[in-house]
C-alpha cells in the first residue's frame, strides 16, 4: 500500500496514534530549534499550563459530543468570572480560601447551568447563548474588579498550583487525572455516557428511545461550567492571583483541542484519550512558540490555523470515506 494511503488510513481510523506521531514530531522540532525547550523545568511548566486548558477541553468534548450544534464558546469567560468570584470571596468577604475555591467551582457550574437553561428551556441555539455569555461573563469579570487582578491570596493555597510530587505537578495528579478518569469511565461505562453518544448521533432516534435529550444537554453544559471553575481554581493558585481576563482566548484552544482529538463537530464522536493527546499537542505547540520568542498573539493565531486545518482534514477524510464506501 502506498505511503499516502497508509497515512490517510492512520489519520482516519486511528486518531490517537496519529496524534502521538504529531506530538513527537512537534516536540522534536522545537527541541532542535528552541533553546531551553527540552528541559525538565520546561516540561514541568508545560504540564502545569496543560492542566487548565485540558480541563476546559474535556468539558468542551462532552458538549460537542452531545451534538445538535452544541458548542460552548463561553468556557474562557466562565474561567475568568469564577476565578474573580473566588478572589472576591477570599479577599473581600474574608472567606477561607479553600472554601472560596469550592464556591468558585460551584459558581462555574452555576454559570454553565445558566447557559444550559437558556439552551434547553428557552430554546436559543447553543451558539448564540454561549456567544452572548462569552461577552457577558467576561464583561462582568472586568466590571467587578475594574480590570485590576485580585492578589494577596494566602500562600497555603498556592500548593495546589505550584507544588509537585516526584517532579510531576500536583494539579496533574490531584485534579486532572482523576477528572479525566471519571469522565472516561462515565463516557464508556455508564448509562449517561450511552445516552450522550446516542443524543449526539441521532437526536430524534434518542428521543424515541425515551432518552431525555434536554436533560443530557443540560448536564453537559453544566459540567463544562464546573470544569471551567475547576480550571480557574488551579490557575488562580498557579499564578497567585485572580485575573479578570484570565480565560481570554481559551475557548478557541478548547474547541481546537477537542476537534483535533477526534471529536466530531457534528456530535456523536469523541474520546477522552483523543482529547488528552490533543491537549498535549496544543500545549507543546503554544509553549514552543512562546519560548521561540513568537508574540503571544501568534499562539492564538497558530491555534486558529490548527483548527481550520484540522476541520478541513476531517471533512476531506469523511468525504473520501463516503466516496469509497
Amino acid at each position: 500500500m502506498r505511503l499516502g494511503d497508509r497515512l490517510i488510513r492512520l489519520i482516519s481510523t486511528d486518531r490517537p496514534r496519529f496524534l502521538v506521531l504529531v506530538l513527537v514530531l512537534t516536540f522534536v522540532v522545537f527541541a532542535l530549534t528552541t533553546p531551553d525547550f527540552a528541559t525538565v523545568y520546561n516540561t514541568f511548566n508545560m504540564t502545569q499550563y496543560g492542566v487548565e486548558i485540558g480541563l476546559l477541553a474535556l468539558g468542551e468534548t462532552l458538549v460537542i459530543i452531545s451534538g445538535g450544534g452544541s458548542i460552548d464558546l463561553s468556557v474562557g469567560s466562565i474561567l475568568s468570572l469564577s476565578g474573580v468570584v473566588m478572589g472576591m470571596l477570599t479577599m473581600w468577604v474574608k472567606v477561607n480560601v479553600w472554601l472560596s475555591a469550592l464556591l468558585g467551582v460551584l459558581s462555574g457550574g452555576a454559570l454553565g447551568a445558566l447557559n444550559a437553561l437558556l439552551i434547553t428551556r428557552v430554546g436559543i441555539p447553543a451558539l448564540i447563548v454561549t456567544l452572548g455569555t462569552l461577552y457577558a461573563y467576561a464583561s462582568a469579570a472586568l466590571v467587578l474588579t475594574n480590570t485590576v487582578p485580585i492578589s494577596g491570596l494566602p500562600e497555603s493555597f498556592f500548593a495546589l498550583g505550584q507544588s509537585q510530587v516526584l517532579r510531576i505537578p500536583l494539579q496533574v495528579l490531584v485534579v486532572f487525572l482523576p477528572v479525566a478518569l471519571v469522565l472516561n469511565y462515565a463516557l464508556r461505562q455508564t448509562v449517561f455516557g450511552r445516552y450522550l453518544y446516542a443524543v449526539g448521533t441521532n437526536e430524534v432516534a434518542a428521543r424515541f428511545a425515551a432518552i431525555d435529550v434536554r436533560a443530557v444537554r443540560f448536564w453537559v453544559f453544566t459540567i463544562s461550567g464546573v470544569l471551567a471553575g475547576l480550571a480557574a481554581a488551579v490557575m488562580t493558585s498557579r499564578v497567585a492571583s485572580a485575573r479578570p481576563d484570565a480565560g481570554t482566548g481559551y475557548e478557541l484552544q478548547a474547541i481546537t483541542i477537542a476537534v483535533l482529538g477526534g471529536t466530531s463537530i457534528m456530535g456523536g464522536d469523541g474520546t477522552i484519550l483523543g482529547t488528552i493527546l490533543g491537549v498535549l499537542v496544543i500545549t507543546v505547540l503554544s509553549n514552543g512558540l512562546q519560548l521561540a520568542g513568537v508574540h503571544p498573539i501568534w499562539q492564538l493565531g497558530a491555534v486558529g490555523l490548527v483548527l481550520v486545518a484540522t476541520v478541513l482534514l476531517n471533512q476531506w477524510l469523511t468525504r473520501r470515506r463516503l466516496r469509497l464506501a
Binding site: 451558539l127 476537534v259 486558529g304
Partner: protein, 311 residues
C-alpha cells in the same frame, strides 16, 4: 412581509423611547453634536450589519468581522499614509475586504466547515496578522481627505450616515426584488429544500461572505477616517456590535426571517445604547454585559413569541 414591518416599527419605537429616556435622565442626549456622534458611530456597524444579515439569514454567522476590520484598516492605513489617491485607497479597502470575505466563504462552502468554526479560526488568524502587519507600531499619519470621509457632514448629517442609508437601500432592493434575495431567505428557511429546488448553495454562500468582506472594507475607510489611527487592537469587539445590531433588528438566528432595514435600525440602537452608557457614566467595561444580555433577551423573546404563535 407584514411581520417584518412590525418588527422594524418596534425597533424604531425603542430607539425613540430610549432617546427620550436619555434626554430626561441626562439632558445631554438631544444635542446636535451628540446625535451626530450616535449616527457616526453607527455607520460602520450598520454597513457591516447589512452583510451579516444575509449571513445570519442563511443560518450562518461570521465572528471574524472584527479581525477583518483590523486587517483591512491596516491595508487602508498603509495606502493612505503612503499618500495614494482616495480612489486607490478605497480600492485597496474593498479588494482586501473582499479577499478576506471570500476566504471565509470558501472555507464554509467548499471546505464544508461550520461557519462558527471557520470564522472562529479566521478571527484569531487575522488578529495575529493585523499585529504582524503593524509590527507593534501604529499608523497615524493620515491625509485629511480620509478624515473628511469619516467625519464630514452633508446637510448637518454625517457623510458616513448617508453612505449607510444608501447601502441599506441597495441591500433592501437586493433582498426584496432580486432572485438572489429570495434564494437567501429560502436557504435560511430550509437549506435542503432550497438545494433541491435548484438553488446553488455554494455560490450564494460565497457571495454573502465576500460581500460582507467588501462592506468591512468600506467600514474600514470610515473607521480609520473617524479615529485617525490604526492599531493592533483595531476592530476588537466589533463583531459583537454587528451581531447585536442584526439580532436586535429582528433577524432570526435560526435563519429565514429578518430584514436589512431592521439591521440598519438595530445598528442605530446599538450605537444609541453605547452612547447612553457613556452619558450615564456607566463604565465602558459593562458594554459586553449589556450587549450580551440584550442579544439573549431579544433572541429569547423572539423564540418564545414564535412558540406562542404556533400553538
Amino acid at each position: 412581509m407584514a411581520v417584518v414591518r412590525s418588527r422594524e416599527a418596534t425597533v424604531g419605537a425603542f430607539i425613540v423611547s430610549l432617546g427620550l429616556f436619555l434626554e430626561v435622565a441626562t439632558g445631554r442626549f438631544l444635542t446636535l453634536d451628540n446625535l451626530a456622534n450616535v449616527l457616526l458611530s453607527s455607520a460602520g456597524t450598520g454597513i457591516v450589519a447589512l452583510g451579516m444579515t444575509l449571513i445570519i439569514l442563511t443560518g450562518g454567522i461570521d465572528v471574524s468581522v472584527g479581525s477583518m476590520l483590523g486587517v483591512t484598516s491596516v491595508a487602508v492605513g498603509y495606502a493612505a499614509a503612503a499618500r495614494w489617491g482616495m480612489l486607490p485607497v478605497t480600492l485597496v479597502g474593498l479588494v482586501v475586504g473582499a479577499a478576506l470575505g471570500f476566504a471565509n466563504g470558501a472555507l464554509v462552502a467548499f471546505g464544508g466547515i461550520m461557519p462558527i468554526i471557520a470564522t472562529l479560526g479566521t478571527l484569531n488568524i487575522l488578529r495575529a496578522l493585523t499585529f504582524q502587519l503593524l509590527r507593534a507600531k501604529w499608523i497615524s499619519d493620515l491625509p485629511p481627505t480620509l478624515h473628511t470621509l469619516g467625519l464630514g457632514l452633508v446637510l448637518h448629517i454625517p457623510l458616513a450616515a448617508w453612505a449607510t442609508a444608501a447601502l441599506t437601500l441597495v441591500f433592501f432592493y437586493l433582498t426584496t426584488r432580486r432572485a438572489l434575495g429570495r434564494h437567501i431567505y429560502a436557504i435560511g428557511g430550509n437549506a435542503e429544500a432550497a438545494r433541491l429546488a435548484g438553488i446553488d448553495l455554494g455560490r450564494a454562500t460565497l457571495f454573502i461572505y465576500t460581500v460582507t468582506g467588501v462592506l468591512v472594507g468600506i467600514a474600514a475607510l470610515i473607521y480609520v477616517g473617524q479615529t485617525g489611527i490604526v492599531q493592533s487592537n483595531t476592530g476588537v469587539g466589533f463583531e459583537l456590535q454587528v451581531i447585536a445590531a442584526v439580532v436586535l433588528g429582528g433577524t432570526s438566528i435560526l435563519g429565514g426571517r429578518g430584514s436589512v432595514l431592521g439591521s440598519a435600525l438595530g445598528a442605530l440602537l446599538v450605537s444609541e445604547i453605547k452612547n447612553g452608557l457613556t452619558l450615564l457614566n456607566i463604565s465602558g467595561l459593562a458594554e459586553g454585559m449589556v450587549s450580551g444580555v440584550l442579544i439573549l433577551l431579544a433572541v429569547g423573546l423572539d423564540l418564545l413569541r414564535m412558540r406562542g404563535r404556533r400553538t
